[in-house]
Symmetry: C2
Subunit: 428 residues, 2 copies
């Protein structure tokens, strides 16, 4: 990890950035063009929720929509709803909506399975399609499931006796090692540090060396502007339950650029990816286009919840989302550093908004205990081994005052001040 | 197909089995020890639902339970519910409940992904674990996704350059072809004909020849008695959305006999199957036991719905379920044959209850149109190419009068009688 974050790690300077005051942050909230979205979510009273990078919040529309799917579509429509309620079209329909969020064509994204399973499909299909590629190159410290999936593929072996190899390198050594024999697997925004790759620049540099690039967009979709087509992205997977607010364990998405689709066949060749699923023919023939990446029967209840989250995100201006995310993180960093000066925090996240995602990570030797104390005060972030506190700023429902209060709470915890309810005390 | 069903196909004899009358079937319902379960489901008025073999009905408890998971666990508990509401334990918890339904140990079943994905895990793990096995042997006309998954594995190749081969044979030739080089993949109850294999007998005969046997229990769990341990079953997958009433696209289950688990490593080596998922270590190490077959983050909303269906099934006596299933199918066959004598129906399903599952299939050259006419009358079955009408009898919510009325409706459609509402006409 040290090699990855070295460029961005620094101790907190003493009050070089002065924290804002309550009046200022309330003025920021008052002028926030996205402020009205907060009321579209259900969030518990007395809580500042800064863990949308792990599990997004519940959109207010979701319970009623899911109830309708349960009671009307399932309960009354029963099996007829596969057609009558277009359940069968849900993976493509919700995929097309996500495509608009991430800057892709409607027929380049599909919702299916989990991020891990989708990654397996893409890596295996890419290895099978290109006999010269046998190295999966990733970043040391990448999100573990990405590495595990690559390792599982390599352990299982591949076509024609050619075994794949998984290599990991520090971020700044990847480009030099990439070539026409490699598939490069990168997570756009790092789960621990919040560092963001330059999507277009890195994609183009790697492609220029002949590499095929697979991006994990788990912490990106719904939080930062993506523009997959514009960036020349070839293949990607992403998560439904973080900034897309699709609910715990929501199905994931898979993106494949249109020109690559015909050459890629999913190893998970289930019936829903068949050209004619209901012909019940004996031999597998992949569907034309992105539907070939479906495998089993789509999880309709989970898809219904995800669709609510995606619909809500589509109402927001993506540029405003990115701008607010940057300002929230800037504010939190400044206020936390002001409130915690000298208390031993180390910022892991880049100060440059263009170089980070929508969460801020601080390291502290007592990070676990500090986060527990924050949660007890109603400020919910999370902790990652060995010493990382993460604070996520989902721009649809986190406000500037939330960021400010969270920073004050962090300062109080570090100063050993007695617990105080950070929300109810002053909010009317 | 002809070879498979030849032993059971026969034209309908003219009134060799007289149909029951309404008074008789109402008496059967009155004496049904499972009759009270009907009220635990929500079913549309004016409908006789005979497609629970495709999508089970909605348990009354499900919407409120899912609403609580949405509003309280997700909406209020947020990310804390992974522990506080034991979301993280749901795949094992619901798996253990299914284990009780299918006659397995609690730690031999897990809920995850789809049936297709789970089958891929087991087949790939089994092939990797046993270097001498390289033939996946299945039945001609097995449910297509099972064949497709095996084909995808074979096309993708396997460990150490050894490619697997998929062979299909008619049912009565499989035992002779099985040996220590084969993995035999069979569906316990045939999706089209309803034929049931003798689970224990076939398993033991195949094992005696050195084969490893993988069962697809999609049409079995919740409908017929299974006793997986008693039958010596080694590996199996099954479906959550048919007789377990888990909802459209509900997650599936995977069974691995305890002694086989240590030797099987899922190729879909995602983080939730890791020995220590939250240690975020760089290298994959499978969890001890059945949890190693998890891959990505479990779909909590879908799992919540499935758990309601499983809980309901657990309240019923499995022997009673099997007995009622047999009697419903017997009654429907007898009444349909009586009502449709000479109309060109061919029974595809065995008359011997021990040799079939919980649905009855009739072939008819006009099967598609006939089923459409039945649906228009409120009798919902389904149609499978080229000429098969399926009528499913889920013993938890279908009654004897339902079976009788469906048979009368079938007779009326075949006789060209004008449409009549089969339910509202006489039910008070």
């Amino acid at each position: 990890m040290n090699q990855i974050v070295a460029g961005h790690s620094r101790s907190i300077p003493r009050r070089t950035v002065p924290g804002a005051d309550l009046q200022q942050v309330r003025a920021m909230d008052a002028q926030d063009p996205l402020a009205s979205f907060r009321a579209r979510f259900t969030l518990p009273d007395g809580t500042i929720y800064l863990d949308g990078n792990s599990l997004g919040a519940l959109p207010r529309a979701t319970p009623d929509h899911v109830a309708r799917v349960l009671r009307e579509e399932w309960g009354q429509g029963l099996v007829r709803s596969w057609n009558a309620a277009d359940w069968i079209g849900a993976p493509l329909r919700v995929g097309a909506k996500i495509a608009r969020l991430v800057g892709a064509q409607d027929d380049e994204v599909i919702v299916a399975d989990s991020t891990s399973v989708n990654l397996y499909k893409l890596l295996a299909a890419a290895l099978a399609a290109s006999p010269d590629r046998h190295v999966i190159l990733s970043e040391t410290g990448n999100f573990p499931t990405d590495l595990y999936i690559a390792q599982g593929l390599a352990a299982g072996g591949l076509t024609a006796g050619r075994n794949a190899v998984v290599r990991t390198l520090p971020r700044d050594e990847i480009l030099a090692a990439a070539d026409a024999q490699t598939i490069v697997l990168l997570t756009h925004i790092h789960y621990k540090t919040g560092e963001r790759f330059d999507l277009a620049g890195v994609t183009q540099a790697l492609r220029a060396k002949g590499a095929l690039v697979v991006w994990d967009l788990a912490h990106s979709a719904g939080a930062v502007e993506l523009g997959l087509n514009r960036a020349g992205v070839q293949l990607a997977v992403g998560c439904g339950y973080k900034y897309l607010n699709g609910g715990p364990g929501a199905p994931a998405f898979l993106y494949a650029a249109r020109d690559l689709q015909p050459g890629l066949v999913s190893p998970l060749s289930g019936w829903m990816g068949h050209a004619r699923p209901f012909a019940f023919s004996a031999d597998y023939a992949p569907a034309d286009g992105i539907r070939r990446f479906l495998c089993g029967t789509p999880p309709i209840l989970s898809l219904a919840a995800l669709e609510c989250g995606v619909d809500l995100a589509l109402e927001a201006d993506p540029a405003e989302l990115a701008r607010k995310s940057a300002r929230l993180c800037d504010l939190f960093i400044a206020c936390a550093e002001a409130a915690c000066a000298g208390a031993g925090l180390t910022l892991l996240t880049p100060r440059d908004a263009a170089a980070r995602g929508s969460h801020v990570s601080f390291a502290h030797p007592d990070g676990y205990a500090i986060m527990q104390a924050l949660v007890a005060r109603g400020v919910i972030g999370d902790f990652r081994e060995p010493d990382v506190m993460r604070f996520g700023f989902a721009p649809l429902y986190v406000g500037y005052e939330d960021a400010w209060r969270a920073a004050q709470a962090l300062g109080e915890v570090l100063a050993g001040e007695p617990r105080r309810d950070v929300v109810r005390a002053e909010v009317t």
